[in-house]
Symmetry: C2
DNA sequence: TTTAAATTATCACGAGACGAAACGATGTCT
DNA sequence: AGACATCGTTTCGTCTCGTGATAATTTAAA
């Protein structure tokens, strides 16, 4: 029974209609779009929010280390940090030990922005899950977390 | 209690870690990538598969009507149909009633390809959900369907 | 008939994301 | 000192996509 082939009949194995893959893709893109819309008034895009959140949990890392953590190549990372630095949300400090690299830090404005993002995203999530009871929401979160755990999603990755 | 504001404490309302929004986005993009990888050996990309599936349920429609259904602009639609026609999976037939327009049909090869896509995607989904029991998988599908229903996702849309 | 509208196709242009390669500055190793 | 690797950066080309303009064919309206 460890074999995953769904040879047992049930709903057609590969049909897109009974599977959760299609639903995951659809809901994922939809959720991303809703989040982006909520973020727009703040002058940010999802990737900015992603970096800010990850940075809050990993302050002082080098730019490249952060990029690797997020799955971004160095070129893209330079651009992303540039944008956030120009907005005064992130700071590049020379690393005293290794002056080739920068250490990334949140500014006070960056920390404030983090709060603003949370305030913007919270109600949106509540609206998205309005058709679910609180128990169902917890159930869903638990199941998704199980899936994510198997795939090695660690809350550190940045959505494509 | 119909109010959705989570004023009651519990896990911090806007925190990304307890919410399913972040998980949905992550899992959605991951599922899309896995699907694309499974499709690559067939020489197809997700958009091709999307059109083939939607076309199977809407044969005989005009090219532009299909494009509208999928959320693609006419220019892009021409290109997409070109690609599938060159592969012999889709056929453009002159519409007898209105000879300005084409009616789109699947060829036999297109129908075969549909089966191949299902065979490629099925095991992938099983692998993705390997950490879930069969009951949990059904539960998850049900919950996702509820969410999708609220958002008006009708199995007709093409993932961004 | 004349005129306007619809459908498909084609082209040019720019926006945006992305990767590859190279470069200067710095650090490390021999 | 010299050779080599690493970090951040810049530049270049590629890919995808959207928009707008244009044309050819066919249909519908005046």
């Amino acid at each position: 029974m460890s074999e995953v082939t769904p040879a047992t009949a049930g709903p057609a194995p590969g049909s897109e209609h009974d599977g959760f893959t299609y639903l995951l893709v659809q809901l994922g893109t939809r959720a991303a779009r809703l989040f982006a819309e909520r973020l727009a008034p703040l002058g940010l895009e999802p990737r900015h929010a992603g970096l800010l959140f990850r940075l809050a949990a990993n302050e002082g890392r080098s730019q490249q280390a952060m990029g690797e953590l997020l799955g971004l190549n160095p070129t893209r990372m330079v651009f992303l940090v540039d944008e956030l630095e120009q907005r005064g949300l992130v700071e590049r400090r020379r690393n005293a030990a290794d002056r080739r690299s920068y250490a990334l830090y949140l500014t006070d404005a960056g920390r404030d922005m983090l709060g603003a993002i949370r305030e913007a995203a919270g109600p949106e999530q509540a609206r998205l899950g309005a058709s679910l009871s609180q128990g169902e929401r917890g159930q869903l979160t638990g199941l998704l977390r199980k899936l994510a755990g198997e795939l090695g999603i660690t809350e550190q990755h940045l959505p494509g």
